[in-house]
Amino acid sequence: MVPFNLLVLVSVLYVVLLFLVAFAAEKRAQQGRLGWLRSPWVYTLSLSVYATAWTFYGAVGYAARSGLEFVTIYLGPTLVMIGWWWVVRKLVRIGRSQRITSIADLISSRYGKSNLLGVIVTLMAVIGTTPYIALQLQSVTVSFAVFASQTPQGWGVPDLRSTALWVAAGLALFTILFGTRNLDANERHHGVVTAIALEAVVKLVALLAVGVFVVWGVAQGPADILDRIDASPIATWEMNGGRWVTLLFLAGAAFLTLPRMFQVLVVENSDERHLTTASWAFPLYIFLISLFVVPIAVVGLAQLPEGSNPDLFVLTIPLSFDAEGLAMLTFLGGFSSATSMVIVAAIALSTMVSNHIVMPIWLSARRGGASMSGDVRTVVLRSRRISIGAILALGYLYYVFSGGGAALAAIGLISFTGVAQVLPALLGGIFWRGATRVGAIAGLVLGFSVWAYTMFLPSFGESVLMSAQMLAEGPWGIGWLRPQALFGITGLDPLVHAVFWSMALNTGAFVLGSLMSFPDPLERLQGAQFVNVFEHSGGARGWSGRAAEAEDLLVMAQRILGPEEAQALFQAESRAQGREGYLPDVTPDFIERLERELTGSVGAATAHAMLGQIIGGSSVSVEDLMAVADETAQMLEYSSQLEAKSRELERTARQLRDANEKLTELSVQKDAFLSQISHELRTPMTSIRAFSEILMDGKGMSPAEQRRYSSIIHDETIRLTRLLDDLLDLSVLENGQVTLNCQTANLHDLLERAITATASAETGREIRIIRDEAAENVSLQTDPDRLRQVFINLISNARKYCDAPEPELRITVRRRGDELRVDFIDNGSGIPKRSQEVIFEKFSRLSDQAAAGGAGLGLAICREIMANLGGKVSYLPGQGGAAFRVILPLSCRRAQAGNRQEGP
């Protein structure tokens, strides 16, 4: 028999060992010598908190009652872990990139850092976990009691309740010591994790030892065990398909959503690569845990007296065979399973309670006062410590009031179903960007209510929280609302019923709510970051950059992260921005990073709210986004207006520049014109003066000389007159003040007279004129005198300037519509291209060859006349000589109007 003192001594020594291990690990971690603390094996072993006392003791009991069904509880997580590529990998990546501190934090952070969701999930987790903690306390006290009942002289029937109280208090102490030692930005607890890894080894070794003892000690090896299975009451067990599938699903779901599993799986994960090992090593662990469950159950059923509690076979079989050392090891194994679960669950829950319930209340209570007075770190840590105490107290109270009666397995499944309600919001959140806060709240609340109604409340037994009548007939006799037969569907297993309806309604409400609501900007940002975590781990920004004082931020960060860490963070940021000192520029990037650091300590919603207080709530809101969009649109519009204006200004400037150039040119032309005029006038005037002076004092001058000199004077005056006439004529023509005398005339006659006129002129050489008399016989409405003037000018030009040895001029007439084209083409060398543009300008003379010919106004006058007649004269290049084309209208277009006005 094991004396009580020895049992207590061993337990205490074991607990001291755990403290020492945790302390040593914590110390190593502080010194930065993480080494094997961060090995994938420690991570894998820490996952074993899945196997609680419910597994250690309960699995055998479960197998004794329901055969192989117990194995579903371990097959479900196996599927999840070997399928890590789907969900676990993503969860871990999100957990690391978003600094997630708990499952409530994940849900809250995903759905726009909504604190309401955090509160809902936290409450659900507390309600779902409390019975489970009670279960662990119960298992420890019951195992104590087993030893007590074995003692014949008795060490007094131990007070079960006080044992439970001592255990709860001890666990609270351990958890507070190692779970709230530091407020780490990564929320990792090396001490706790290491102690739990040790416990995982102890419980595995203990169970394997019992298994080996049973298979090779009690029975004669595996073959004998198989025979005994056939002989045992569970041999005829048949698989219930509904329960099998439901339990597989439930165990897989709970593996992801249990707060303690989330804590070790995601939060305490220090390296994503550890998953590669854990993906097969953890299934192997639970495989080994389950391996001997059926043999132990079978042997227990056969060997132990009728009515023994199958939940305690693991302990009672070694005791009944007087293997006291083994029994002691088993006791420690069970103790380890219970304590590790309680410790991790208490840490996870206290984090959730403190981040999502206590801190928001504390923050809102402070809102009025001076911002951030006092040390937030102390507040956070104290609230966690109190939460741990409260959670264990709740567990203890639940244990006391539930009387510790129900079969362990039932409590486990109720708890599983409760926490599994988070699954739709969780999976929807990481795979579906359309999932919204409204949908998540609707799904969680509905699913949780259905769970409470169909499973949790009835579990207290008839007439405790639900009357027997209500269970049998439904509330107010409404059969459709019977808690275990909703909608009139009877005959379902209560567990299948509860899981089916709660998950179906939960998922339905979640999807429907998501489809019908519209998410916040922050929600959409977070949704994109979660769903696409592998594409971009940095990403969208939740803060618009309104100025916050870097100093205020530092003050706050110091209170949460601790002075050294906060200063290091700020200094690093300063350096990254290329400055000295501790105060960097407050950029949105920096706020983003700071928020993430704080999130690791106090959770997403609280960190967001705290920063919001300092920065003045300049977190992104719809209004902000709209305002930004508006501003952008306005700026775009404004800038396009500016562009249009500047284009217009440019155009105007160009016009002004052109006008200025034209004016300058005109002024130059005017000057040139004046100097030309003066020159043209001066030449004849000079000779007139000279010859008149000679005549004045012309004594002894022969009459022939006198006649010659006076005839020169006469010629020069005629030339002057003609020049002035031309100028006058040109000015009249240019101003459009000319009076045209429109008559019907024959082109042939006009040309005939023009040729005659030029032939009689004094200068000029003989020129052969080639004409087409038939074509010339056209009658037209025009001013004959003016037109003849043009012809004369063109013909005399040809006479003067044609440099061919046998000059000839071809005059062709062609009719095109109501226009006549008269071409004057000579066979000379023509006019060079360069000069073709200027020949119609005033005073343009191509050479001095015929200086006497005129002042260079002829073609200019021709052009003005033709313009007034409604036609045109132009140079026609490429004809083998100088060629001019006169285009004439058949009727007197412009002149008519003038005529009518002038006419009587």
């Binding site: 055969g67 192989l68 194995v71 097959l75 196996t78 599927l79 999840v80 872990m81 070997i82 399928g83 890590w84 590529w85 789907w86 198989l226 299975i229 056939d230 045992s232 569970i234 041999a235 005829t236 067990w237 048949e238 698989m239 398909g241 099998w244 599938v245 597989l248 690569r273 590669t276 090992t277 993906s279 097969w280 090593a281 299934p283 192997l284 495989f287 389950s290 391996l291 059926v294 592998f534 594409e535």
Partner: protein, 86 residues
């Protein structure tokens, strides 16, 4: 924005993709194996124990092999300074 992924990968990238496919499909195989006993009838504890635990350990071995291959690929990719291709 990322440039569009190439349509065809080099041999090793292709291997890696198929490995991840296998990693994704393994739980499907597991679910199939674990649900298969639904088709059986009658007292099945003995055969059930043998079958389920065999299937279980086979899955664990497959998962271990896949995990090792994936880790080896990752390590090699890390050495060559490539990003994770997914």
């Amino acid at each position: 924005m990322k440039p569009p992924a190439p349509l065809f990968l080099a041999r090793r990238g292709y291997r890696y993709r198929r490995l991840t496919d296998a990693a994704r499909l393994l739980p499907v195989l597991g679910a199939f194996l674990f649900l298969l006993p639904l088709l059986w009838g009658g007292g099945m504890t003995r055969s059930g124990v043998i079958y389920l635990f065999t299937a279980w350990i086979v899955l664990i071995i497959l998962a271990a092999v896949l995990a090792r291959l994936l880790a080896a690929h990752d390590a090699r990719a890390r050495e060559e300074g490539e990003g994770e291709a997914d």
